[in-house]
């Protein structure tokens, strides 16, 4: 297999604030339901932002010991649920031990999350290296019995797109037969809520949680923390055809560029993000006018949404007034490291359900975000080409193009 040979998505596993099963997530996204609530998993009273899109309890995947699974950290539960579900969904579960299955996993700060959680339970792992010997990537490979290589990628909100790009290349090189790729996070923690809150990045609309995440709306005041993950099974088109596998989409194009400006603040120069989108479209050999849907990064911050709108204007040209754009973070919150992967899932749902999920809480569009919005209600229409933007801390700009098969 060589560069340019098609790579298809044939399996999906996800944990989101809108549910943990594909159909449930799809129904909730297209119904425009918000997953944002007052934080319930720790005492939130002293935090500036008191709302988040938490995930509910993660069921034990079939085949796992329930007691052992319940004892794992939430982040590891998310990873295992997503991987197991994706492998089962794709039909590769039974063959995973006899096939070269790779794993490219977007993780942002696994040790900080695990040490923090342990400390809150009275543990002292942060003071000792003894129990930190095995990173989650290796644990996951071992627990799943995978035979292929595994790496983590970390580019904040853009991690999922980097993971899919890396996995696609492994498949093109023939290094793996099948590759799990995606990203997971469990960032609704005391430190996360406090750190982002003190950065003044989070919405303080504490009295009306479900209206707090409002990308592109004039009344937006910051993002809402979310959490979860999505992992996809990628395989060569030829293999999927031979198996008569259910195909969600082709990973048609990837683009990435860095701002080189600031660790947190988006660059006032839109060129790097424009470059990422143009690279992805060129990689997919598509013109901007052929895009049916853009899942925007739009987190609901005053600065970021405008910056992205300017990027879309530059890339789409005249088509900016006709290509539908929405931000599903209005419903899922900002899932941080998992964001790009969760939004790839939203694109797959748009393609499969032939409907574009809306930006909820978009009642008064910011005039500086003059886009073809899909406000508040899903828009039924066929989606053959979907584009997902993800721009992360550290100045990472990424774009993924998905094509219907």
């Amino acid at each position: 297999m060589s560069q340019g040979t098609a790579v298809w998505i044939t399996g999906v596993g996800a944990v989101t604030p809108l549910g943990h099963a594909y159909d449930t997530i799809a129904d909730n996204l297209l119904e425009g339901r918000s997953g944002v609530r007052r934080v319930s998993i720790f005492d939130i009273a002293q935090h500036p932002s008191q709302i988040a899109a938490e995930i509910s309890a993660i069921p034990c995947p079939p085949g796992w010991d329930e007691e052992e699974f319940a004892g794992l950290h939430k982040l590891e539960q998310v990873i295992l649920w997503c991987c197991t579900t994706a492998l089962r969904d794709s039909g590769w579960w039974e063959q995973r031990g006899s096939t070269r299955v790779g794993l490219v996993l977007g993780l942002g700060a696994e040790w900080l999350i695990i040490w923090d959680a342990d400390f809150r339970r009275g543990g002292k792992r942060v003071f000792s290296q003894e129990k930190d010997a095995e990173p989650l990537i290796f644990r996951t490979r071992r627990k799943l019995g995978l035979k292929g290589p595994g790496i983590t990628v970390s580019a904040a909100c853009a991690s999922g797109n980097y993971a899919l790009a890396q996995a696609r290349r492994w498949l093109e090189l023939g290094w793996v037969d099948v590759c799990l790729a995606g990203a997971c996070d469990a960032g609704v923690t005391t430190l996360g809520q406090a750190g982002f809150g003190n950065l003044r990045a989070l919405s303080r609309r504490n009295g009306d949680p479900q209206a707090a995440s409002r990308p592109f709306d004039r009344g937006r005041d910051g993002f809402v923390l979310g959490e979860g993950g999505a992992i996809f099974v990628l395989e060569p088109a030829e293999s999927a055809r031979q198996r008569s596998a259910h195909v969600y989409a082709q990973v048609a194009g990837c683009g990435a560029a860095s701002d080189a400006h600031n660790m947190v603040i988006p660059s006032p120069d839109p060129e790097p993000a424009i470059a990422a989108m143009r690279q992805a479209l060129a990689d997919a050999r598509l013109e901007p006018a052929s895009i049916d849907y853009i899942n925007a990064h739009a987190t609901s911050t005053p600065v970021g949404d405008i910056a992205e709108a300017h990027v879309l204007e530059a890339v789409l040209g005249e088509a900016v007034h006709s290509v539908p754009v929405s931000s599903t973070k209005s419903m899922t919150g900002h899932c941080l490291t998992a964001a790009a992967a969760v939004e790839t899932l939203a694109c797959l749902i748009a393609m499969e359900r032939r409907a574009i999920p809306p930006t909820i809480n978009l009642h008064e569009p910011d005039p500086e975000c003059n886009l073809c919005h899909v406000p508040n209600t899903a828009r039924p229409m066929p989606v053959h080409v979907a584009v997902s933007n993800s721009f992360g801390f550290g100045g990472s700009n990424t774009c993924l193009v998905l094509k219907a098969v």
């Binding site: 070269r100 923090d116 950065l199």
Partner: protein
């Protein structure tokens, strides 16, 4: 860089090769990091705002310093890095700062957490910071996170270089040896712990290149070689020492590290045929300034 199709006895294996255009290693104690934070190195490091690295993690500071020294010592000072990529693999990033953050949270509540904590202690912080200094507009991301993930960083860097057709990729690896673990008062310990950073500038392979070259292979279909942890790339300091050997001595040496999943990274001198290769065992605790070279096992060359 183009994939190389290599016929072996039973399978067709695809390998990636890249040249090691520059490399550098730095070892720094907490005391010396104070100075590096103010002046991390020559060239772009001299033009940074005085507080640019104020909130950066120690591994970021040392990783950046190593990149700047590599540029300075390798004739890359005039190179335009705009389209390069960066992959960084810090190890246990932010442990020491987290202890302080947890204690401040206990004492002061949510307001005690610095807004700089998350941006500068997430795994992408090293690559993101270096991208700002070098004005890199190509891709940047973090990988790994724990000791032993150096080979994965090289794998990710080589794939990025080849797949995105970049002119070069910086691979930045760092760790503490021994691990810097604060005591329960928050004081970093041990005080003489050393932060190591080894950086490599990967570029596409060029004809006639005599310097170090990396080659990355994964097993073909049907092969399932056992992973041998003793042959993984564990020591950042050891890698730095080994690269010094490659730089200063013309020795017929091939070094191979395995990564989980059966693949391997091979380091050897470009334009040279080496047989037999040698395994290099780099013991983490003993590798501050030397590499232990042991003959044993068989390298990838004579397995084919």
């Amino acid at each position: 860089m183009k994939p190389i199709q290599t016929a072996s006895t039973s399978v067709v294996e695809t390998a990636l090769s890249c040249d090691l255009r520059a490399h550098h290693s730095i070892q720094a104690t907490l005391d010396t990091i104070v100075n590096l934070r103010r002046r991390p190195g020559p060239g772009p490091g001299e033009r940074l705002p005085h507080n640019f690295l104020k909130h950066a993690d120690e591994q970021t500071v040392v990783g950046l310093a190593a990149v700047l020294e590599a540029i300075h010592h390798s004739g890359l000072s005039e190179t335009d890095f705009t389209n390069w990529g960066i992959v960084a693999a810090p190890s246990f990033l932010g442990r020491a700062t987290l202890v302080g953050a947890l204690q401040r949270f206990e004492a002061e509540g949510a307001w005690g957490i610095s807004p700089h904590f998350i941006p500068h202690r997430s795994q992408h912080a090293v690559s993101g910071t270096i991208s700002q200094v070098l004005k890199v507009h190509g891709p940047n991301f973090g990988t790994g996170g724990a000791p032993g993930s150096g080979a994965e960083a090289l794998l990710a860097g080589a794939v990025l270089l080849e797949g995105n057709r970049l002119p070069g990729v910086w691979v930045v690896m760092s760790d503490w040896e021994p691990e810097l673990i604060p005591d329960e008062t928050g004081r970093p310990a041990p005080a003489d712990a050393i932060c190591h950073a080894t950086v490599l500038a990967l570029v596409p392979p060029r004809p006639g290149w005599q310097g170090p070259r990396l080659r990355i292979t994964l097993p073909g279909r049907g092969e399932s070689p056992e992973f041998d942890a003793s042959k993984s790339l564990k020591s950042i300091a050891g890698l730095g020492a080994l690269l010094q050997i490659f730089s200063h001595e013309i020795i017929p040496l091939t070094v191979t590290w395995q990564f989980e999943g059966g693949g391997c990274v091979e380091l050897r001198r470009g334009a040279s045929i080496v047989n037999p290769p040698k395994w290099i065992t780099l013991e983490r605790r003993n590798a501050r300034n030397r590499a232990e070279v042991t003959q044993g096992g068989a390298g990838t060359e004579n397995q084919r």
